[in-house]
Symmetry: C3
Subunit: 342 residues, 3 copies
């Protein structure tokens, strides 16, 4: 696709070439994202963050990414959005705001509504999550994390075994990620979930239709044993049809260090879209894995910055000018961000 001026509404828009192009630019963004260099390529440009429901980490990530490119950011969160309460249409809201900013990120609880925003204007709009619909940059940063785990080579993602674990029925992130992974060749999918929360047929069919192997598994131990990549998600108790079922499965779809070391391949990376539930008995990934080098969850969130920088740069057509306005970062940056970072 021609990224310039394009709205990013769904992972379905991406071909494997598009992904490769995006990742190539993201790689170029790493020195700025890691605060080794400063670029001001988007100085003067304005991002509008329209968040009709709260999502702190997504908003901050988009904000920091745009800021690292030199642009400024105007945030609006749901609590503050007044005019739509007075009966204003999506069309009007979108057109008005598009007159103020150069690119818009919209987060909204209603599936499909971000497309309505995009239909009102020619400026690029990014879907920052539309309820049960899509959150394409989350899936892209997940895939970028996988790509970096395998030496930043697209070719090395082909043929991998991927376990998607947890709520596969309602989990927006696993739907989008499975679609992106299906762009590669010979992926072997392990869909690990309670029967009533298994992956919907539409996504299974999409994956199978591209020639990938899939396994439907209910037991976590079995589901993760062969995987190169284990992607955990939260199961909200209210997703189960009965409280008894919720109780039956409570704590089942979770991994701790002992279980990981006993059942997984030694190189298997552990992912999660975050937030993970850290309350006792709820955790999908136990805190005792925090120091484990294969725990990739913070690499995922860190990777949101270069990935989103790359997307902004491509949508605004400045991807080849980034280095022209760069200089070394002059402030102190610790060698490692997290206490357990490698």
């Amino acid at each position: 696709m021609d990224f310039k001026g394009t709205s990013i509404l769904s992972t379905s828009q991406f071909s494997l070439e598009d992904v490769a192009r995006l990742f190539q630019v993201a790689e170029r963004m790493e020195p700025y994202a890691q605060r080794k260099k400063v670029t001001r390529v988007l100085e003067g440009a304005v991002l509008g963050n329209l968040f009709f429901e709260p999502s702190t980490r997504s908003r901050m990530s988009f904000e920091a990414a745009f800021g690292r490119l030199g642009g400024s950011v105007s945030n609006t969160t749901g609590f503050q959005f007044s005019s739509m309460a007075k009966g204003e249409s999506v069309y009007d809201t979108s057109r008005v705001v598009a007159g103020y900013v150069d690119v818009l990120v919209v987060r909204h609880p209603v599936e499909g509504i971000v497309k309505e925003f995009a239909d009102a204007t020619h400026i690029p709009i990014i879907n920052g999550g539309d309820g049960p619909g899509e959150h394409p940059t989350q899936a892209l940063l997940d895939l970028y994390t996988i790509y970096k785990s395998f030496g930043m080579k697209m070719d090395l993602v082909h043929g991998k075994k991927v376990a998607l674990v947890g709520d596969l029925k309602y989990g927006r992130t696993v739907h989008s990620l499975s679609k992106l992974l299906a762009l590669f060749h010979d992926i072997e999918f392990f869909f690990v979930a309670p029967g009533e929360l298994q992956m919907p047929d539409v996504f299974k069919d999409k994956v199978k239709g591209r020639g990938h192997k899939i396994h439907l598994v209910e037991d976590v131990r079995e589901g993760i044993a062969e995987a190169d990549i284990i992607y955990m998600t939260r199961i909200q108790q209210e997703r189960f049809t009965t409280p008894e079922d919720a109780e039956k499965y409570r704590g089942t779809y979770s991994i701790n260090r002992a279980l990981y070391e006993k059942h997984c391949k030694p190189h298997a990376i552990l992912m999660h879209p975050l937030p993970r539930d850290s309350r006792t008995g709820h955790s999908e990934l136990d805190d005792d894995l925090n120091a484990h080098p294969n725990l990739a969850i913070f690499r995922q969130t860190d990777n949101g910055i270069p990935l989103r920088m790359a997307l902004f740069a491509l949508l605004l057509g400045v991807e080849d000018q980034v280095h022209q306005r760069e200089r070394p970062a002059n402030w102190y940056v610790p060698p490692r961000i997290g206490i357990y970072d490698n």
Copy 2:
């Protein structure tokens, strides 16, 4: 007036010469507002946006305008303003915040309170709407839109016929706009409203006192027939003294394409302060006018950027330095912002 360091509390502060001066600077701001050029003239300066009630579009517009001048913005919305809840005076709040920022926009539900903010400090303060009081930049951007519609010549505004339609009793925007229009010569006003929501005498007298002609009209068709400019406003149902009256007038003060084409002059421009109500049976300006080239509502909101940029530049005394710190915009901007833009 000498704009430098002056607080802008009311449209009453403006002479025709002040308006002309402001519009002259606004015109100079157009290339930056339209993202053709970037200026950094206010780099290092800080705007404080103090919004004690939500007003997303106004806040974003001030924010984007200041950002396009290179400055940074500190937003506070009503939900977050904690100290006044503890009994802090307006004087203290204003003086404290004035120590942090270079210019302050205050939005507050209480009429006259923004003046109290201005009385506490020597930094310039802009009234961003004080309840039923004033919202001077709204009236100024409305007038700037009219001025642009007539070839950016002040002289061509003289003698125009203007229909103000809807809630003229409580409508802050029509009060302020009528005061500004009254600065010109030989305006012919059509005040189109239900009897109980007609323009208050104080504004009628002001307009008449400057030699303009006014017509009080209840029927919309009649009121808009001769107008060069039709300015629609929303009538909140709760403004009527009885529910029966509200019901009687429901949908009466609205224009759709058929009505416009049948009753209006072909060049008559359609304005609205927005948000307009797009729910069926409520709309003041029907969606079927969205593609009409005379619908000026988004030109109004777009014009808020150069107008507010000009005001900031004048209040901070940088209006003649803007081009010194400019460069071409280097990112992609679509040729038209909205899908129906000309």
Copy 3:
């Protein structure tokens, strides 16, 4: 201490040398804070303001200080913080956000929790107030105000007489300030409070342990008579054990102009952490003192800017580069900010 990369959690971390170093840098920041010059030394860096409870003035002050250094700011207020509501640990929240920003200010109602944020990452974290715990930058800006009042000479603070007045039991600011003042020599403290709200033993002992004289006083007139510095604080009515006590002391711990002129030394400066309660019968410092040149309350808030700029510069290791990226401020700044400023 080596400021670079250090988290600032408590005033207990500061030696007298550290304070002197910080104030030296703060003094260097004055021209930028006073908007005489502009520096862009932190251009490209990002501050995260994580406010789990509202504190408008603190947030704005950190934001403006970082902005005056050229950096950009990402704000999150408690209302918007969504992921922790879903059971996310402090460790996860802190590590994720630390991946987005270069320095983090955390405000939280729970004492000690900011340390947990700091334990998760190597980026510097500043305690912006942790409930009944500490708010170190408030105490530092208070001390900086005292230091400036005595000619910007550390030596001239030794030997001063300081009255701390009001709620000394729960008052976080007086605890921290007393610890900092105790770093000097021969301070004479007047702890002026109702018996049940007197200074806790731990702080009295700390002060006595460093050889300072203390007086416990219940009568305000007596407590402030000899003081060079009078630091007023608010007594929340609900702090008293009985409503009768609350009633008994209502309005007692307050100073107005008559009382000040009758009982205080002519040079005694009047301080307050703000907000002060300006409702009749509640005010700790009466409005009739607003024009008094010894009223230092807005000098305190103004001083928050250079003090916090200095702290950011030191934590990020740019304190010696500030002037390299400077230029004169080119916009209008009024000679005095407040109407009663000297």
